[in-house]
Symmetry: C2
Subunit: 336 residues, 2 copies
Amino acid sequence: MRTQTEAGNGAALRVQAGYGHVVGVDIGASNLRVALADMNGTILGKWSASTKETSSPAMVIEQIHTGVESLLKQASVPWRSLLAVAAGAPGITDADAGVVVATSYLRGWKDVPLQSLLRAALRVPAAVENDVRMAAIGENWRGAARGVADFVFLAIGTGIAAGVFANGRLIHGADFAAGEIGYMHVPGTPEEAAQDGAPGSLESVIGGEGLRQQWLRGCTETGVAVSRGLSATEILERARAGDELAAGILHRSAKILAYAVYNVSLVLNCKLFVLGGGVGMSEPLRDSTRHFLEQFNEPVRPKLTISSLGQDAQLIGAIRLAMNKAESRIGVKVSD
Amino acid sequence: MRTQTEAGNGAALRVQAGYGHVVGVDIGASNLRVALADMNGTILGKWSASTKETSSPAMVIEQIHTGVESLLKQASVPWRSLLAVAAGAPGITDADAGVVVATSYLRGWKDVPLQSLLRAALRVPAAVENDVRMAAIGENWRGAARGVADFVFLAIGTGIAAGVFANGRLIHGADFAAGEIGYMHVPGTPEEAAQDGAPGSLESVIGGEGLRQQWLRGCTETGVAVSRGLSATEILERARAGDELAAGILHRSAKILAYAVYNVSLVLNCKLFVLGGGVGMSEPLRDSTRHFLEQFNEPVRPKLTISSLGQDAQLIGAIRLAMNKAESRIGVKVSD
């Protein structure tokens, strides 16, 4: 076992001087968010920028550097106090190698060595993880799944994906593609396999765009010409307000989501599903899905809850992962 | 790290005298099987008996004792050479506590402390595990999934259940019910939730009894009165021989199985499925399911293969688990 004094590199000194600091990064399809935290996980500042015009790896890294510099200055924390950085990125991410293998966002990053780039830019140890798994880490640490060893974070936005904890550990799968349940087939979803790059069977119906398509088809069929531009969340809210067309869509979508949640729970025997993402955080969808789930008793009925961290889940997960990295660097556990 | 000489209890002596021996037990719904192996995992003898008339825990334990005594005598191995025993049992099994929580077989065992009973009867450390997970351990050690860190052993008999390896470890789930995918809903299975104790949606169609029901309904509808007593495997073989009714059943069942396999692979990103059980080992079913799976490319296409250990998978898994138990007892790893 290593002790503080064995850790070298002045780490012991830094630990005594307030444990040092870490940076968490959430690289999204349209926004980049950076947070600075101390080693208690307390966030000292947040910084964000658009990635719409600056999606190349080099540009994103430069943005992150700018953000970190700004946050450190604002909090009067010196660069040498920085212990580690962790970043979540969309798509297939090899967390071991630290590489974003492929994503349909960020103009299609392919084999981007994000971990090395971050380490080189910030001169501290770095870790990377898929964005949905990062959110699961966040929820497990400080959110709706605090301390739960077996649970699923289910992100429903345009696409659908799950971050899976089993035995208290993240499941990555053989190709870091575990949890890609947007392709799942359940009663009520298209029976055909998804084409290359096209939405999966499940997300084509109950993802954000799928819900909008259901709405538009309904408007056309019923001759309702108004409100064609509603968002998925607005459609689900309309159902609660009594709109008949929207209520039908909510009913159908919740039933399909209940099948998907139940199927996943059968594989993993996880009792808790934390819903995140723009569509996933819809209360009408949660309530209606719960109603359908109540019909499933065997072998256990999974519980549904909405993310308590919301859009901060990934950023908070990134802080936790950076803290893990820092703790393994200084050879001592300073947080729980 | 412990050394051989620290292990005490004469373990070091036994290790030098051929590493000692272990016993693996497969407690099935109708048969009890016991095997004696050395610490290389070489099976020295097998023994079996019916559990149809003797299904109480006390009687099964007595049978196991008789079997072990007989095997030791036959192989001229003294009792004191026995290092550990492991047993697989049907139903929900708490592997940590060593308890068979509930099973619909063995006249409904409930909260049976199998591990303690085995330890008391054989006077060696004992381990217990669910039968399907035990088979997965066997396939991972010496079968079709040798050395594969992420795979699923899929047992299809009367019921359907999966033994899941992720990150090289078994997934048990929050209530030791992981892998109970017989309840899964996919396109083509009944949409209603299963009633208490009734077969699940998936197994009600493609489990052994489900296949027979499909056949019987087909016979009635087509007016074919012959061959009503065929087994599920025989029905699937008939499809290969050109029988039209059987071919329709195979087509339908393989499509449903392909959906189930694909859904599970999405959750876990496991590339390999090892098929076991009476129905699962049917070659026509495997071939036809493979055909349907070829349509699924995103994000990865899972591979299907038939168990190479067959009905010995559980017994071999039990030997492996007993060896683990023995190795942790003597504090030294003597096998891989």
